[in-house]
Amino acid sequence: MNGKSTSETDLDRVYLSLKNEAEDGGYRFNPDVEFTKNLIRGLLKNEQRYGYRACPCRLASGKRADDLDIICPCDYRDPDLDDFGACYCALYVSAAIALGEKQVVPVPERRPPRSLRKSGGAVQMVSAVQAPVFSLPVWRCKVCGYLCAREQPPGICPICKVTKDRFERFA
């Protein structure tokens, strides 16, 4: 016995696997381990109550289709990393923050407000695709921008590991 409860062991396991996954894809976790583990606790709680890992710092609707854009990693992570050096929750941070050269600053909410989200669930970022010019459709991962040309998007994004339903038709 190491004195840790089962849920704490689970937490450590998820923390490590998400951290490794992030690093494999060139992303970095917040170096404040306690803060980061608390966010993972929130993700696991959301997975339990909603069935998916909705952002712990945003109010989820409980309907996956309406919350696709805020399933962690969210659609807003990369632009927030570019502009503020951290995602909205500060789970993912820039290299400078990971190395302790810069501090995390509060990140303003980029997700459109409730009133603009109501019709058609998560906001569609790309307008209707024009007549195809390639022999195969091109799919874009809305989280990390990964592109691939194939009949269907992959089941899991090979870069950031989000599910198929986070892809949009790009060309």
């Binding site: 606790r41 909410e109 407000p113 409730r114």
Partner: protein, 93 residues
């Protein structure tokens, strides 16, 4: 709406709209406790149905983005996000 009261110095009505899972909400709550301010808080994600909608209407009245934490001070101003310096200045003055 279910709210919880934290005792402290009376600085008017101080209402914190938070999420039970949010790290910055927790930091904001801890900061208010450290400053010894009396405040009320609610975890909007733990409210259900109509009660949650009503809480969101309140949040959006002060913060149209409807994000958390939203701190409403004395029904005259709001501070959105964990703005440590701004919160300290508000209550240390």
């Amino acid at each position: 709406m279910v709210t919880e009261h934290v005792a402290g110095k009376n600085r008017g009505t101080v209402m914190l709209y938070a999420l039970s899972t949010c790290g910055w909400c927790a930091r904001t709550k801890d900061l208010l406790k450290e400053l010894g301010v009396a405040f009320d808080f609610t975890f909007v994600d733990l409210l259900e149905g109509k009660e949650q909608d009503e809480a969101m209407d309140q949040v959006e009245k002060w913060n149209p983005k409807g994000s958390f934490p939203t701190l409403v001070i004395d029904n005259r101003k709001s501070i959105v996000g964990f703005q440590e310096r701004e919160i300290r200045e508000e209550f240390c003055a």
